[in-house]
Symmetry: D2
Subunit: 346 residues, 4 copies
């Protein structure tokens, strides 16, 4: 069994990591770190896991450094991960960092999108972006892997076949997101009377995760806009992309392209053309699982294309992908501990 | 036109008062008071009212005292109303106080239920409990009227015919409440990922509003328990009372009793026996209105009775009742500005 | 008082018409028509209106024709309105038809979008499209006015300033709709376990309401796509349009254009630029009212524009607009019976 | 691997069985039976399981009888199971019947609660009620096991420690249920605009599942009432019991009793006294799992007790319990294939 420490274990991605570790056959929780909750039972914060962790208490960062581990997951606020990363790498402990601290490989991009100079830019080069569907081999050999932005991963996984084939001329991404994306700290926007049933368009053209999309798809930023809508759901991200193709395509050609890129991927699912109501996926169909659903529909003009993809933001969009990377880093079966099926209807 | 000032206008009950005043034929908003939001447009906080108050800004308490008014609504936190009340009464301005500060008439009850000595116990005697269905004539002549607890008003209005007839032997009240009951300040319990779809039983036997229920029904406290469940709705309170009757009753006798007490009441509605699915009311059927629905079902044994009543907590449970009292205090038609019909389905 | 008959009074738009008539100062319900519910109390189907219509029962079509009326609202299924229209017009009774039967003015368009030849094509010329914001003067003099498609009205009202100014080069409309749009008949898609919290993209490029949009905006169909998403809400339509402008624009120019077209309109509201979270409207902010909210955001490139508009589909998207037309047809104040403010939060 | 056939595989309990079988290490789906959907891909009805059953199609009952199996799950409508049971028992195939056909052991009870004479009363004696927590040893040796009513199992598992100890003097059960309890066929009550956010009290005193509760707790029916509320959730049953104890108790005595009965049970969880907001359980905390949460609170008078228990109706309330029984019948680990943790927040 590999020993695992989770930092930021009191948050939502942290709780989801604990859920996954509780069921993992080869990984074992060695410590759940939370400065603010240190000493409290884990199940006070994650009541659904009381049977799994009846006597586990949160530990402080100081205690965490005193414990031996093979890998740490860092589910910390943006900007606070990198000093912890540095310390663990020195100790030869593998790191998967779910914050945005090491997602971008170019320090200038970091400044541009996060508005400040990175505290440890050398980490950016060393880190691998944690989407196995794009960087599987690099992840296997890595000691530092970033997590993924949930909106970014949903978008990248829906569009990379098109991007790789040079087919994107213009792409208006429209993301619909659940409230768990905002984490566990309440604010006015997450207050139930206001958030319930909302359709709040809170970013018209640009979201930080676009930095990851552009980086991973290797396409110019100018090609994209990214509109964000907060929906009244808890879990789930759905990307609806209004794409203009760079050249006229037939539907059969698009099927061939998507199949080529998705083939053999354990979590990628291409939606069928029929029945039509299942062609463009609802995030409900992947809830609780690490799966990705992608579907598309081509306009008769052969240029206008809609691509929809759907994930569970806490799974494939955060903790699930992170665990998938950890599996690869340990040489384990990539799907280990991630085989759970979606819960539907729920 | 009577000039009205609303204190605590940035909160939920405050916002509902503004909505009501915007449509009232004889009352006019003279000032919307909020210390924390003073100077900001009212619609920043209540975006649905931008067309109604395009240029109104919140004013500070100091400004409020400088404005002339006939009546003030105080939608302030518990414990902070009474000094404001005193000042207005000295100025001969009528007051409807939606906080709990003057709901109880006995200072000892206040200590018992609110855990501290009241700052101005003489106000308790002077104040009238603001349920016109129980205190209509006193309200007409009053210069100080309290608001009502939303759970209390829902319960009192469902049970007073039974209480008046001495029929309550044992009553287990079970209240299901929406998230708007908690006001506009976010907290962990109101955080959308946690509150959404919840069925959180947060009080097993006792809730502060029981003080009002006992006072208004004039029944011993021992007779009641009061269980609270937070439901995943925004608006609405539903009381389900498991009653044991003091003597064996026939259904026809109960109909007669309820009809007697509800007769002529402009907002009280007794649910029909048929169709059975409409007999015990859903709060959705009164949403947005000042109406009360009450239904009951008698067990074959003639002793066990279920009473269900439903209100919109921001209307009949707070701002609607408050306005109803204000109408009475001004000698206006009691239903003035409160004729809106429920919004359903919504 | 004008006497009004509502056909299809058992449906959702029908119920909303009853709610509106119950509060209208100058119109009076003369009959609520439903073949399937004839003889049953109206409140069996619309339990929220029991206090308003305690003894009204649904009447059959035959009874309806025997009653005298000044105007009839027809909230019937598509394809079944036109014979009723013909009969009423012969009797010199005014008609507002909420079905799609007389929305299109060109019989060929009807064949194209509805897949069959119209039974009474002469009605199409005679009918006026029931959006007062576009056809106010014609409506005043009309005896036959169509209702509007809810998605169409939301889209038209958000885009007509741009269309009139020739600014639309490409517009990808994306509509998010509540479940009340589907009417009162249950089906698998409306089954709560499946519909709850859904984000179901059910039309990628085209929806019948596009016929109305193209007709009213007088723009070529090729310019548009129309993507439909069923959301887990009950009321509300939100249009998010990804527009490419025909020429480079400054934001100040767009403000001027929108203000010009919205000025003096009693229900049209242009969202402010600040605060940014209120710039692109949520349908929750108009729920229960006849209001329209429209906001826009221009990309730095001066070409890419997002327009969001929001309505209550049962009000401005159906029954509210229909009543607004009826007011005009009677020479009444256009806003009569439609002054209710949105219910929020709810 | 044991070969399993699921009848009624197109329904909700059927779909949940397929989800469980897809992840079971020792059981294998041999056929998914649905008369109405025969020939269609399973994922057309259960889109979340497309990756698990990419090419499985529903088979007809006739095909099903032609396939070899070790055990069949029957998730059929009440009244249609027993002929299928008879046929399988003759073929020496084990049966777990999720319908109500063999839940009651007394044929007279069946007549009383289901209103008709049972078609094969001999099956009632032969069948074991499928709650391992009550009948574990009998289930191990059985070839016919019934499923459980979801409301019944939630209630029984919350109350049997009290019942066994003779502590129930009066128990007012109040059940709050999600929409998935009603199965996959839409009706007016399940129509999203009506069901969404509802708090519909649809049975005041009695529900069929009370027959099971009385049978399993071995307590007189007169002691109970059972009130049903449909809530706006999809999954989950919560029982809130207002109990009057037969004798005055101390809290410590109740803890001892509950611990005694729950000890060693793999799915039973007793909620802690502290923190108080986790004492009375929310069904959200077990969603997607086979777990049961039970909590209680004793009034100061030592007599009045509230017990709350929560399950996922499709899991412990139906398919999860059924699989737990199958594990026992095969001599497998009881928890096999049922170790999944709850999904929260979701």
């Amino acid at each position: 069994m590999f020993r695992i420490i989770v930092w930021g274990a009191n948050g939502m991605a942290g709780g989801e990591l604990l859920r996954l570790l509780a069921g993992h056959p080869e990984l074992k929780l060695e410590g759940a770190v939370s400065r603010s909750k240190a000493g409290q039972p884990v199940w006070h914060v994650h009541p659904h896991l009381r049977q799994d962790f009846p006597s586990e208490t949160f530990i402080s960062p100081e205690e965490a450094f005193g414990r031996d581990s093979h890998l740490v997951f860092l589910a910390l606020p943006h900007g606070s991960s990198w000093p912890v990363i540095e310390q663990y790498l020195q100790q030869k402990v593998k790191v998967v960092d779910l914050s945005a601290d090491v997602r971008l490989s170019n320090p200038e991009d970091y400044v541009k999108w996060y508005g400040s100079i990175h505290g440890a830019p050398h980490l950016l080069e060393r880190s691998v972006y944690g989407l196995p569907e794009v960087h599987r081999e690099e992840i296997r050999g890595a000691d530092l892997v970033s997590g993924v932005g949930c909106n970014a991963s949903c978008s990248i996984l829906g569009l990379f076949p098109l991007a790789r084939e040079g087919l994107l001329e213009d792409a208006r991404l429209e993301l619909r997101v659940g409230s768990s994306e905002g984490g566990s700290n309440p604010n006015t926007g997450s207050h139930h009377p206001y958030r319930s049933r909302t359709l709040r368009v809170y970013e018209p053209f640009r979201h930080r995760h676009l930095a990851e999309i552009v980086q991973e798809l290797k396409t110019p930023e100018e090609l994209f806009t990214m509109t964000m809508t907060a929906a009244g759901i808890v879990r789930g991200v759905q990307m609806l992309a209004q794409v203009r193709l760079a050249r006229k395509m037939k539907e059969s050609e698009l099927w061939k392209i998507y199949r080529k890129y998705y083939q053999g991927e354990p979590f990628m699912n291409l939606c069928p053309a029929r029945p039509s109501h299942l062609r463009l996926p609802d995030p409900r169909f992947v809830m609780g699982s690490n799966r990705v659903l992608t579907g598309f529909s081509l306009h008769d003009d052969g240029y206008r294309l809609i691509v929809v993809s759907a994930i569970d933001n806490l799974m494939k969009g955060a903790s699930g992908s992170a665990l998938q990377c950890a599996n690869l880093m340990f040489g384990l079966e990539e799907t280990s501990g991630l085989e759970m099926r979606p819960l539907y209807p729920a």
